[in-house]
């Protein structure tokens, strides 16, 4: 069989079994084992088992359960509620102020946790009803929470950056540093959009009545709510960027910070630990089994000789290196609509990274483009996770199609953000070059 036919069959059967509903980990593992059998025979499966052992030996990966655990704890403390109250007092007087405030809380949350769901759930239960009650347009509110939640994976720490670093071999610390400015850029872009829309169409976000805006002493008292999040952010990012600990140990520091926050809010009890532990176990296990299977996938992919073929195919795209990058982004964007981010990374990165490197692009920069694209994947229908998190917490009057339609302008803003990064790569590369 020619390599072209084999490759087509390989990716075709991956897709086929995925659509039939078999979990991603088993599709990757099963299809790869079958193809490995035809290229290298039965004994090549030993490779699969030994690769699992080496995955278990990656110290960086240990950060994943810890960052997840931290997020699960922070989601349940009163941190989000107090932050929201603070934003309410400070920004209530501005048109669209609550939406801007929500975006800022999402950014603060993103700097504490490394996953996308925590902020969506927290803001969906706290900010969403509050904003709807005050006459905010539901599409504006839903879109804001959806976008802000996705920043969890872009603003460090980030589980996806850890995985990216693992697959491509770049440093986790550099990836984290590279995510800071693009995160701020996206926040500015999104806030600008909200402000302009609300200025032109005041009915979308009425300003609060005078009596709800709070007095100055109240406003300053509410600022206290930022202290604990600051402590957590400082413990995690400070440890990594200051070179004190490895990213994995920094994650443990973050768990400590989260536990302290929970204690301060008197939310620290056995129930919280138990619930957070089991949710962490599920999410980490899901990621780990996809990773285990993905090793079979890379082995099969390489053994078939598909890599040179796909490289050749991609390089024949007219328009040079930039067209290739845009083409890759398009593929990832489309995959993001239907597939899990961890899966997308493990399927596409072994294919893309060598090509990107051979064209002379900075892998850190490409990683940030990739992560923003993943973040878009969280909010694009039909299979964006943030959409489902939101659906799980919104009041009954809001339908899935409301949520679907609300994301359109916000997705466009994120794509504009990717465009800015392509024109000004320094936004991503400045800080890592400065710190490391």
């Amino acid at each position: 069989m020619s390599i072209e036919v084999m490759t087509l069959l390989f990716f075709g059967s991956l897709l086929f079994f995925l659509v039939l509903g078999l979990p991603l980990a088993f599709v990757l593992g099963g299809v790869s084992v079958v193809f490995l059998y035809f290229t290298w025979g039965f004994d090549s499966f030993y490779l699969v088992a030994s690769q699992i052992w080496s995955t278990m030996g990656s110290f960086t990966l240990v950060a994943i359960p810890l960052f997840v655990f931290m997020a699960m704890i922070l989601e349940r403390t009163g941190v989000a509620r107090d932050l929201y109250r603070m934003m309410h007092l400070w920004f209530g007087g501005v048109r669209g102020g609550l939406a801007i405030g929500t975006l800022m809380i999402c950014a603060i949350f993103a700097a504490m946790v490394g996953i996308s769901g925590a902020a969506v759930v927290a803001m969906g239960t706290i900010a969403l009803p509050a904003m709807l009650e005050r006459g905010y347009d539901k599409k504006m509110v839903l879109g804001v929470i959806n976008t802000g939640g996705g920043w969890g994976v872009l603003i460090p720490p980030s589980i996806l950056m850890i995985l990216y670093a693992l697959i491509t071999g770049v440093s986790v610390g550099k990836m984290f540093a590279a995510g800071i400015l693009p995160g701020i850029m996206l926040m500015v872009l999104t806030s600008a959009y909200v402000l302009i829309r609300c200025y032109l169409q005041p009915h979308l976000a009425p300003d609060l009545p005078k009596e709800e805006r709070g007095t100055w002493p109240e406003k300053f008292a509410a600022l206290r709510s930022v202290l604990l999040p600051m402590l957590v952010v400082f413990m995690v990012l400070g440890s990594i960027i200051g070179g004190i600990t490895t990213p994995t140990e920094a994650a443990a520091m973050g768990v400590l910070g989260a536990l302290i926050s929970a204690a301060v809010y008197r939310a620290l009890n056995m129930e919280l630990i138990k619930d957070a532990s089991i949710r962490t176990f599920k999410l980490t296990g899901m990621i780990m089994w996809i990773l285990f299977a993905a090793h079979a996938f890379s082995a099969a992919y390489q053994s078939m000789g598909a890599q040179p073929m796909i490289e050749g195919m991609i390089q024949s795209i007219p328009g040079g290196p930039w067209a290739v990058i845009i083409f890759m982004m398009l593929i990832v964007f489309l995959l993001g609509m239907v597939l899990d981010p961890v899966g997308i990374m493990l399927i596409t990165l072994p294919v893309f990274t060598p090509i990107v490197a051979s064209m002379g692009f900075d892998p850190i920069w490409f990683g940030i483009l990739f992560v923003i694209n993943m973040e878009i994947g969280y909010m694009t229908p039909p299979f964006g996770f943030n959409l489902f998190y939101l659906k799980g917490v919104v009041p009954p009057g809001i339908t899935m199609s409301d949520i679907y339609r609300s994301v359109i302008p916000f997705v466009i803003i994120q794509i504009v953000g990717i465009g800015c990064l392509m024109v000004f790569p320094e936004i991503a590369t400045y800080l890592p070059n400065l710190f490391f």
Binding site: F17, L18, V19, L20, G21, L22, L24, A25, F26, V27, G29, G30, V31, V33, Y46, V48, A49, S50, I52, W53, T55, M56, G57, F59, V62, P65, L66, V68, I115, I159, L160, I244, T245, E249, A252, M253, L256, I273, S277, I278, T280, F281, K282, G285, M286, I287, W289, F292, A293, V338, L339, D340, P341, V342, G343, F385, F388, Y389, K391, G392
Partner: protein, 183 residues
Amino acid sequence: MRALTAFMTGVTRLNNLLGRWFSYLVMVMFLLLLTGVAFRYLLQMPLSWTGELTQLLFGIYGLMAGGYLLSHNGHVNVDLVYSKFSLRTRAFLDLFTSILFFIFTLALFYFGLDMAWESFSGRETSNSAWNPPIWPVKAFIPAATLLLILQGIVKLLQDIAIAFNLSYYQPEPEPKEVPEDHA
């Protein structure tokens, strides 16, 4: 039939029980890493074993989640088309796709066992400064895969019962959609 039902509930309970206990390993890993940092900076006394022990526990933690997750349908899949089908159609599809599941997990079990046995016969250690034996951790690869396979057999039996209307298993009414956590 009674034995079949007992097997199914037994395996599911075992995976749930183990899952609940192993989920607390995240606390252990956290405490170990924290101890490591504290000894290094506060007591100026770096410990050689905290990082490595965390690492070994993490491997076990990830592996052991496999069977637990399957018993909770927690492995992420693409349910775009799949969720549109009836319970029975899904059961038939699952019967078909389970071939891949068993090919992957059986290959993993066979070679995992091989690897663990080799490690055990050589009393393999990690060759680090601390140098602990690592065969117990390697043994978790076939052990956890076996738990996953057993849970896969339970799922297979459930799907057969649903697909052919057999009485030994009654599917529970579908729970209200609570979104699972994702990265």
